[in-house]
């Protein structure tokens, strides 16, 4: 297993280095093919690791492989010993599986997508580096290694968003992503400092029993990590970077900003789930932030014109669901939604990439329409993805989303009344999701064509199409295959739940109520979809008119609640002003004091200088006076 683990990390890193150093000399599709081969091998290794773990008894399902000692300082309770190594358990292996699996498909897709781009080798080098960082994030033996991957994926995201460096917007978006993430990182760091003081270790394996034994931990400690998770997983109030990150190439949006990197926050919360459970009210914060984000982003997505921005806000919204699940203590359900979301959101992004590719870079939904005739395969694949996103039975998203909502309702039913509010927010978000998804699909594929007549859209080339088809299949079977709570068919939960904390408020619904809720959710989703499809189907003119002559709320939605503007006014500009103020202060006051000291001595010198009048006789006179004084003193 050590070899497998080592290869899982070494292969992507080596490939990143090879492509980075020699990629310039590789032509055509070669860099992409090499990278894809590497990613596929990693998937193979992940499967091997999975099979190995599955063969172990449930209580011993983990492998610790240490490669070398990273640092080892201090003694006793202030010892800080960290290895560079790997911690394999069902949680990390699950993440590894879908990272490498979905990752391979996106690598495959990228071969064709980036074929005509300048500097594709650089793109693939970053992508390999990303894969390495993501794997070290989930596989790392301790929190510091996780943090290494955490920052590494942030860096790759920064590099890949700004990939087209001539574009000012892209460069700006990349920087914004990095900095907003860094805000979260400060929380992560503080969480680690505190954890070390409390537990004396940062190793995942060593922390596990300690966390389980801890009766209570300070809620702020858990919230430190949650701030980090909010940054990486784009939750309120740190979600602002993700929509802007869509400036990067579309496969990057699919891989990093939908399927894998943004779920790192969930991974962190799951990994530290015992800590969160022991941290009193911290979990409630997680739940409320998650639900609020889901609703908030869902609202914004209603009025976006850029197809990728619709998907970006829907990602933020879905991530909110996952945090809601975490906050409810349904950690397994969160993991379930992460996986189904990876399938259908990657599919949607790749599909939108195929559309954008066909339209030579056009991303405006208002300039699409009627594309199902030109791109039938893409339309079919994306429709599956859209159904899954909207939570329509029997597509993947339905099962995972329904499980989360079911837990919320069950906890309300068990007496925690406030959980009904969370459930209501979730259901409302589900309706919004179905509506904006239908709007997007209809504007893109339905109705009459508003495409620039000079363009002749055509289907995507083979590698892109294959990736789409595979993801389409996964979006159909990925849900029911992994779990159907109402039928007590839960293979994913049986696999992953033992390494997660148990829910602090377990609750169960009577079977009839459960089925009823499910039917209700289904009906809401279908109804919302129908409304969306109807409004935006048919003639486009009234729909556009409706969006243009917007009442106040809709205008706020279009302005995305002006969050960016509010942050600029409340945080960025005051901070910048403070910096300028410091500069003036430094120049005038601090340096002024020292320069003042210099001028003071110069002033003193001016006084003394008066004696030096240049007349020799005066000097002689003073000399005489001095001599007389000295003589007097000497003779006394």
């Amino acid at each position: 297993m050590n070899l497998v683990a080592a290869l899982l990390l070494a292969l992507p890193l080596a490939m990143a280095a090879v492509l980075g150093l020699f990629g310039r000399r590789l032509h055509g599709k070669l860099p992409g093919v090499l990278a894809f081969g590497m990613a596929a091998s990693c998937f193979g290794l992940a499967v091997a690791a999975f099979l190995h773990l599955r063969g172990l008894p449930e209580h011993a399902r983990f492998v610790e492989a240490s490669f070398w000692r990273w640092m080892d300082l201090g003694v006793g309770d202030s010892r800080l010993a960290l290895d560079v190594g790997v911690y394999l358990d069902p949680l990390s292996v699950t993440w590894t599986l879908f990272i490498t699996g979905v990752g391979s498909l996106i690598f495959l897709y990228s071969i064709a997508y980036m074929e005509h781009e300048e500097g594709a080798w650089r793109y693939f080098s970053y992508l390999c580096l990303f894969l390495f960082s993501m794997l070290i994030l989930v596989l790392g033996e301790n929190l510091v290694l996780t943090f290494l991957g955490w920052e590494g994926v942030g860096l790759c995201s920064y590099l890949l968003i700004g990939f087209d460096y001539g574009k000012e917007i892209a460069a700006r978006a990349g920087r914004k992503a990095f900095i907003v993430n860094r805000i979260g990182d400060v929380g992560f760091l503080i969480g680690m400092f505190w954890t070390w003081k409390l537990f004396g270790t940062l190793g995942h394996g060593e922390m596990k029993p300690l966390m389980a034994a801890a009766a209570t931990v300070p809620p702020l400690l858990a919230l430190g990590y949650f701030v980090g998770a909010c940054g990486k997983s784009a939750q309120l109030p740190l979600f602002v970077w993700l929509p802007d990150a869509m400036a990067g190439p579309t496969p990057v949006s699919a891989l990093i900003h939908a399927a894998t990197m943004v779920t790192a926050g969930i991974y962190l919360v799951l990994r530290l789930s015992p800590l969160f459970v022991a941290a009193d009210w911290a979990l409630d914060v997680v739940a409320w932030v998650g639900a609020a984000t889901a609703l908030f982003a869902g609202l914004i997505a209603l009025r976006q014109r850029d197809i990728k921005r619709v998907l970006a806000y829907s990602t933020v919204s879905q991530l909110g669901y996952m945090f809601l699940a975490c906050g409810l203590g349904a950690f397994g359900a969160a993991a379930f939604h992460v996986i189904t979301h990876a399938f259908f959101k990657a599919l949607l992004f790749l599909g939108s990439g195929a559309v954008i590719h066909a339209l030579h870079g056009e991303q405006d939904l208002w300039k699409m329409g009627g594309l199902k005739h030109h791109l039938p395969k893409t339309a079919r694949a994306m429709t599956v993805g859209a159904f899954a996103l909207a939570g329509i039975f029997p597509f993947a998203g339905f099962f995972s989303k329904d499980e989360i909502l079911g837990v919320a309702f069950a906890q309300g039913y068990a007496g925690h009344t406030s959980r009904y509010v969370l459930w209501g927010m979730g259901v409302l978000t589900a309706a919004l999701t179905a509506f904006y998804t239908a709007r997007m699909m209809t504007l893109c594929f339905g109705g009459t064509s508003r495409v620039d007549p000079h363009l002749h859209p055509h289907e995507a080339p083979a590698p892109m199409a294959i990736a789409l088809q595979v993801l389409m299949v996964l979006s159909i079977v990925g849900g029911v295959g992994l779990g159907f709570e109402a039928l007590h068919w839960m293979p994913l939960h049986r696999w992953i739940d033992p390494v997660l904390a148990a829910a602090p408020h377990p609750a169960h619904l009577p079977a009839a109520l459960n089925w009823g809720l499910m039917a209700l959710a289904m009906m809401i989703a279908v109804l919302a979809w129908r409304i969306g499809a109807k409004w935006y189907g048919g003639d486009f003119a009234p729909a556009r008119q409706a969006e243009l002559t917007a009442p106040r709320l809709a205008k706020v939605l279009l302005g995305r609640f002006y969050v960016d503007e509010i942050y600029a006014a409340l945080i960025v500009r005051p901070l910048r002003f403070l910096a300028e103020l410091c500069l003036e202060f430094d120049r005038r006051v601090v340096d002024g004091l020292f320069r003042g000291a210099g001028q003071l001595s110069a002033l003193l010198a001016t006084g003394v200088r008066l004696a030096q009048n240049g007349v020799v006789h005066v000097y002689a006179f003073w000399m005489l006076v001095g001599a007389v004084i000295l003589l007097t003193l000497a003779l006394k």
């Binding site: 200088r609 004696a611 240049g614 020799v616 006789h617 002689a620 005489l624």
Partner: protein, 100 residues
């Protein structure tokens, strides 16, 4: 033998003359001569002292003073010459370049 006090008196007179000359005159050459007068006044005390108290040490000091005076004249006259070339004057008040 002439009493020692007389020598000292003469020396003091000469020294006072030097001081007065240095203070009163503006011509650098005359000021120089005044300085020489003071130095030689000191010399006179040394020699007179040498006769009565410490012959070796007193004479040695006088020799030192003579050497210093010679060196001083050499440097001083060179300076005066240089100043004269520059200013066409040897009056001390005309040279105030070092005024701060």
């Amino acid at each position: 033998m002439v009493p020692q006090a007389w020598y000292f008196l003469l020396s003091a007179l000469l020294f006072g003359l030097g001081v007065a000359g240095f203070a009163a005159r503006r011509n650098t050459l005359v000021m120089f001569m005044s300085v020489e007068l003071m130095l030689n006044a000191a010399n006179l005390v040394f020699i007179a002292g040498a006769r009565d108290y410490l012959p070796a040490r007193g004479s040695a000091c006088a020799l030192f003073v003579i050497a210093v005076a010679a060196a001083e004249v050499a440097v001083g006259l060179a300076l005066v010459l240089a100043i004269f070339r520059l200013k066409k004057s040897v009056v001390a008040d005309d040279v105030r370049e070092l005024r701060a």
